[in-house]
């Protein structure tokens, strides 16, 4: 197993291809695959050589969409399940039977898919809440930054925050990070009464993470600039091992991660790789507005996370 750290979206895709080259090419089961953007993303990743797709859904429509958009789905297994819920169950079954390494969302609501994924009969549920990781490759930052959770838990309480952190650390390990450096977000580093809830979260999460998780450093509260810029840290007079070096930015609400991530994509040219973690297989979802690069990188992240799970027997 290679120990190289993945620092960019390019390196992430290269790693996914390398994993396939070492004979561990991942299989991704797409639930309700009748969606042109999704078919396009899977076809492209398959052509790049880092995964095999199983398209579960309305086969006739899938074929039609692929033909219309000139996507090559020749090498893919197609499974006809017209009902989107049935398609989700089929994809979950494939993952439970280890015939798929990751699940991808197609033409159905995220909540409908995840409800099936955590259905007890598949045994795919982990001990934590499911959470979303937006791993960004930001021009000007020397490593990937994982914003979490901007997609699943609306307003995490301290226990959920801890689970979100644990999930994100797993992704960090899959990226080869050691130690994993976590910044707990706040708008300001100065301790005022108004952000008391954040301070108390940090006070609870920090010692717990340091004790229960190996090779993790948690600091906070840190604002985005101090978490990612040593210069900003020096300005504020703050110095700790996470300042300017954060791998994970643990936020306080779904709005915070979601909105700041989109600002970085729109106005700072960041490449976005998203994945839902917490289950025994990663769940990938791409949005219509994602660029080709974002979609490819998101699927590569799912493959790299899945490979980390199996190589390290995480769920066994």
């Amino acid at each position: 197993m290679t120990k190289n750290i993945i620092r960019s979206s390019k390196e992430l895709i290269e790693r996914a291809i390398a994993i396939a080259g070492e004979g561990r090419r991942k299989t991704v089961a797409v639930a309700a695959a009748q969606d042109a953007d999704v078919i396009g993303a899977v076809a492209q990743a398959q052509a790049e050589g880092f995964l095999n797709g199983i398209l579960v859904g309305e086969v006739e429509l899938i074929k039609k969409l692929a033909a219309e958009n000139d996507f090559n789905i020749d090498g893919m297994e197609l499974v006809d399940k017209k009902d989107v819920n049935e398609a989700a169950h089929y994809a979950a079954r494939l993952a439970a039977d280890k015939k798929a390494d990751a699940i991808m969302k197609g033409f159905l609501p995220t909540s409908a898919l995840l409800k099936v994924v955590i259905d007890k009969k598949y045994g795919l549920r982990g001990s934590n809440t499911l959470s979303h990781c937006a791993v960004l490759d930001i021009p000007g930052y020397h490593k990937m930054l994982n914003f979490t959770d901007g997609g699943m838990v609306v307003k995490p309480d301290v226990d959920q925050k801890y689970q979100i952190l644990e999930n994100a650390v797993m992704v960090g390990r899959a990226l080869g990070l050691s130690p994993v450096k976590v910044a707990v977000s706040a708008a300001t580093e100065s301790i005022t009464g108004k952000i008391a809830h954040i301070i108390s979260d940090v006070e609870e999460i920090r010692p717990r993470a340091m004790e229960e998780l190996e090779d993790v450093i948690v600091e906070g509260p840190l604002s985005l600039d101090t978490a990612t810029s040593k210069k900003a840290g020096a300005f504020q007079g703050i110095d700790n091992p996470v300042v300017g070096e954060a791998d994970i930015y643990l936020v306080n609400s779904i709005e915070e991660a979601n909105i700041v991530v989109k600002a970085l994509i729109q106005f700072a040219g960041a490449v976005f790789c998203g994945v839902i973690v917490g289950a025994k297989v990663p769940v990938s979802l791409v949005s219509r507005t994602d660029t080709v690069m974002n979609k490819k990188a998101s699927l590569a992240l799912a493959c790299v996370v899945s490979d980390y799970y199996t190589q390290n027997h995480i769920w066994e």
Partner: protein
């Protein structure tokens, strides 16, 4: 893809136009009396001096004289050109600025190194009489993103931590005021959320929808307001159309962003400056006089922009 509607671009859409407007304003009346609160860092002093040399402001320095002179040396400026009122301690300095604002002796406060929370703590004391007319005091940042065809305002990354619905109305009214002074009529205000639809489990989306409805019913005048809008839908017409948000006066062409809370706004601010390398200016409005404010790590140019915004609003 179908053709997208054109984005409305106000006549004023670049910072240089804001600077020109400030110069016009001063040319037609007297200089803006600006108090710079020390300690100050060198870049802010340079920006302040630039405004003095452009004959935009009549400067006053409040704070510890010795420390200020040290900064002058660092910035390569002679302290003799400034009128300095030697005051010991941050509390006293801010209190003096508040008193001068109350007594009509200054039109603008410029802050540099004083922690915002400490400064506001003193200004918000009743005896400071800094808050008048029961207005909300809030921070408005104005960005000039190179990927965007116009200026983009943001509130509130510095003052109001968590606004309730009533306070959000105050934030919008301050946005309208700043937009008006800059020269943007009927600003298009996007109320930000994680999604563009309303979910009962996401209170932010419900408040945004209420604000949009209030604007539609003309309970909010002088602005177009729409929400909930995700960040991409607010500023990118293609994203708005791809996600089915059409016929919105705001989506894809926002002039201003109302963030759900200070963490979000601050994150946007830092993302835009640190990684978007976006020119900006920032000002606290709603008090007796505006306060030009910028982050320590902002460039001297951005600090000048903040002062210019303050001059226009004063």
């Amino acid at each position: 893809m179908n053709e997208l509607p054109e984005v409305f671009i106000p006549e004023v859409n670049r910072f240089e136009q804001i600077v020109a407007r400030a110069k016009d304003k001063i040319a037609g009346s007297k200089k803006c009396r600006a108090a710079l609160m020390a300690p100050v860092e060198a870049d802010m002093l340079r920006a302040f001096n630039k405004a003095v040399e452009a004959t935009l402001i009549e400067p006053t320095i409040l704070g510890e004289e010795a420390a200020f002179k040290k900064t002058c040396a660092e910035a390569g400026l002679s302290p003799d050109k400034f009128r300095i009122t030697n005051i010991k301690g941050i509390d006293e300095t801010v209190a003096r600025a508040a008193r001068m604002a109350r007594d009509g002796e200054i039109d603008l406060i410029v802050n540099s190194r004083l922690p915002v929370a400490d400064m506001l703590g003193i200004l918000f004391k009743t005896e400071s009489e800094f808050i008048t007319r029961k207005k909300v005091v809030s921070h408005v940042a104005v960005f000039e993103p190179r990927q965007y065809k116009k200026l983009l305002m943001l509130t509130d990354s510095a003052v109001v931590v968590q606004a309730d619905l009533k306070t959000k109305l105050g934030l919008i009214s301050n946005i309208i005021e700043v937009a008006d002074k800059i020269g943007i009529e009927n600003p298009r205000v996007a109320v930000l959320a994680a999604v563009e639809v309303i979910y009962p489990q996401m209170p932010v989306t419900m408040e945004a929808a209420v604000l949009a409805k209030m604007a539609e019913r003309r309970q909010i005048k002088g602005a177009f307001v729409d929400g909930p809008l995700s960040f991409d839908i607010a500023v990118d017409m293609a994203a708005a159309y791809a996600k089915g948000v059409k016929n919105s006066p705001v989506a894809g062409q926002a002039d201003a962003l109302l963030a759900p809370n200070i963490e979000v706004a601050n994150g946007i601010y830092k993302a835009m400056t640190l990684y978007g390398h976006c020119p900006l200016g920032g000002v606290i409005v709603g008090g007796r006089v505006p306060i030009a404010l910028s982050s320590c790590s902002d460039t001297a140019e951005n600090k000048f922009n903040s002062i210019v915004l303050g001059i226009l609003i004063a």
